[in-house]
């Protein structure tokens, strides 16, 4: 009786393991093919060339679109992480390998507070390596940050 019971228990354990393996396989399959979550923010982060500012940008359009005018949010802080508000900001850029600039003239259109700035008019008109330069002028001084993007 006990032996039988035991072997029944063993069968159950094996069945449970089997089920677990199957479930794992299904889950792995699901993970393998599921599209990436749609809401991830791509965050780029850099330090300006003289080290005055920490500069980040966010875009909620993923991947960064080609031939579509879209917006960024720039985040400017001191290296210690203090938000820098009321900065004068200029945006420029281009493709070093092709010797051409941006197809548009993007601008900061709004200071959002907490070191955040709305940048409108961003547009990229071909895939490849782009450089975006952000000129920043605030109480800490004038400095420039460069982002490298591969589209």
């Amino acid at each position: 009786m006990t032996t039988q019971k035991r072997s029944g228990g063993k069968g159950l354990v094996l069945a449970v393991i089997g089920l677990l393996v199957a479930a794992l396989a299904v889950y792995a399959g699901y993970r393998l093919f599921a599209p990436p979550p749609a809401t991830v923010d791509m965050t780029y982060n850099t330090v300006s060339s003289d080290g005055l500012y920490q500069v980040m940008f966010e875009t909620d359009t993923l991947p960064i679109p080609l031939n579509e005018t879209h917006s960024w949010v720039l985040i400017v802080t001191t290296p210690e992480g203090e938000p820098v508000n009321d900065a004068e900001i200029g945006i420029d850029g281009g493709m070093p390998a092709h010797g051409h600039g941006l197809p548009t003239e993007p601008k900061v259109t709004e200071g959002l507070g907490e070191g955040r700035y709305q940048v409108e008019g961003m547009r990229f008109n071909m895939g490849g390596h782009w450089e975006i330069r952000v000129g920043i002028n605030a109480a800490q001084g004038t400095d420039e940050a460069t982002f490298n993007l591969d589209l």
Binding site: N45, N67, E105, M126, L149
Partner: protein, 411 residues
């Protein structure tokens, strides 16, 4: 010392690269000889990558079916011209990809530019070879008053629409203003007599006529929005490649067509400008195409940067329906004229093999000449050509042309 810190990249989830590897193992089919980068490029050119048509916020009638139907009538109506002999369809022929196979369009007289095909035109933020209008509806108003095209004027058009299409117009746009007391022919862009007649009209009368005129453009634009690019053999091929299956039937590419595709997305650098599912970046480039002897000087986009900003029918003007914030093409336009000397809008290459001649003034009569141009890369007569010559073998030249032919849509 410049601290160029590479931006933190969004970490690509491992699962997608695994999935790709997995697929590659699953399917050792005809598409396996394309690299991942090539596949990405092929997918980006496919019609499947075309986004939904964005509504034009500057045109309240964008996406409006009744307006599109009325626009179709106007598009084909020769009554909408000075002498009753020219319609949009005179040059933009539906059975010919909405162009006319001529080096330069001919209305009342020959113009200086080639008639542009219209498939997918509503996706473009700028209209004309030089982008001198920022919307389809503002564009439509230009040929109507051009002395070599429809050769009419806005006051005559307002009166004509009231007499001939009054009911259809009012059903869409509301009551027409009183027009009978106005001069028969008056416009700020007409001949001396028409301009003088326009000056004599009150501001209120001019505004009323402008409003009817703008609405004609808005109906025409609603119609043109319905002209979308057609699926081509290339799209069926690309779909198969993207799905990792063997292309079938007419989607099978010959060795030559594959070579051409590879050149196009690779060494020949065509993707620099002819990218995305419409094969255009909607931007302006000097490619060193020579001017046509005898025509007036043509500086391309460099000459029209002020014109588009001053156009009373632009997105920010009184006849546009958008909030100023929505006029992003105009607000953030690149305004450095030096960048645009003899720069023209990159044309879509869909259907291109089927509609010679080529370039903004029909300079080249065959694709062979186009490919030679990209190979020779002549200096521009003014400004600087962006083309760096690519040497093609005889086979490479044939291959590129064979590939371009796969972009022909259904007849």
């Amino acid at each position: 010392m410049r601290a160029l810190l590479r931006g933190l990249r969004f970490r690509r989830p491992i699962r997608s690269s695994l999935a790709v590897a997995f697929l590659a193992v699953l399917c050792a089919c005809g598409s396996e000889d394309f690299s991942e980068a090539e596949k990405k490029a092929i997918g980006s050119l496919s019609l499947d990558a075309l986004s939904d048509l964005p509504l034009d916020e500057g045109n309240r009638y964008s996406g409006n079916r009744a307006a599109a139907a009325f626009g179709a009538v106007l598009f084909n109506d020769e009554g909408l011209s000075g002498a009753g002999t020219v319609s949009c369809a005179t040059c933009h022929k539906a059975e010919r990809q909405f162009q006319d196979d001529l080096p330069r369009g001919v209305g009342v007289a020959e113009t200086d530019r080639r008639t542009m095909p219209l498939a997918g035109v509503a996706f473009s933020p700028w209209q004309f070879w030089d982008g001198r209008r920022d919307s389809l509806w503002a564009q439509a108003l230009v040929p109507l008053e051009d002395a070599r095209e429809h050769a009419g004027n806005r006051t005559a058009y307002a009166r004509y629409v009231k007499a001939r299409h009054g009911e259809a117009y009012e059903a869409l746009f509301g009551p027409l203003p009183a027009l009978d007391h106005l001069p028969s022919n008056a416009s700020p862009r007409g001949d001396a007599a028409e301009r003088a007649a326009w000056e004599r009209m009150t501001l209120r009368e001019r505004d009323a006529v402008n409003r009817v005129f703008a609405n004609i453009g808005k109906a025409l634009a609603a119609f043109e929005e319905t002209l979308t690019p057609r699926e081509a053999r290339f799209d069926r091929f690309a779909k198969a490649v993207m799905e990792g299956r063997e292309p079938e039937e007419d989607a099978v590419f010959s060795a030559l067509e594959r070579e051409g595709l590879r050149l196009f997305i690779g060494k020949a650098n065509c993707l620099e400008c002819h990218n995305g599912p419409r094969f255009t970046d909607d931007h302006f480039h000097n490619t060193g195409v020579p001017p046509v002897p005898g025509l007036a000087e043509d500086r391309g986009r460099a000459a029209v940067l002020d014109e588009v900003q001053d156009d009373p029918f632009n997105c920010l003007g009184p006849y546009g329906d958008a909030a100023p914030d929505a006029c992003s093409a105009l607000r953030f336009m690149q305004k450095d004229a030096a960048l645009f000397e003899r720069a023209y809008k990159t044309p879509s290459l869909r259907g291109v093999a089927n509609r010679p001649p080529y370039m903004h003034a029909g300079q080249f009569d065959r694709l062979e000449v186009v490919i030679d141009h990209y190979s020779n890369a002549p200096a521009a007569v003014s400004g600087t050509s962006e083309i760096r010559g690519v040497v093609f073998t005889e086979r490479g030249r044939k291959a590129l042309i064979a590939f371009l032919k796969t972009l022909d849509g259904e007849p």
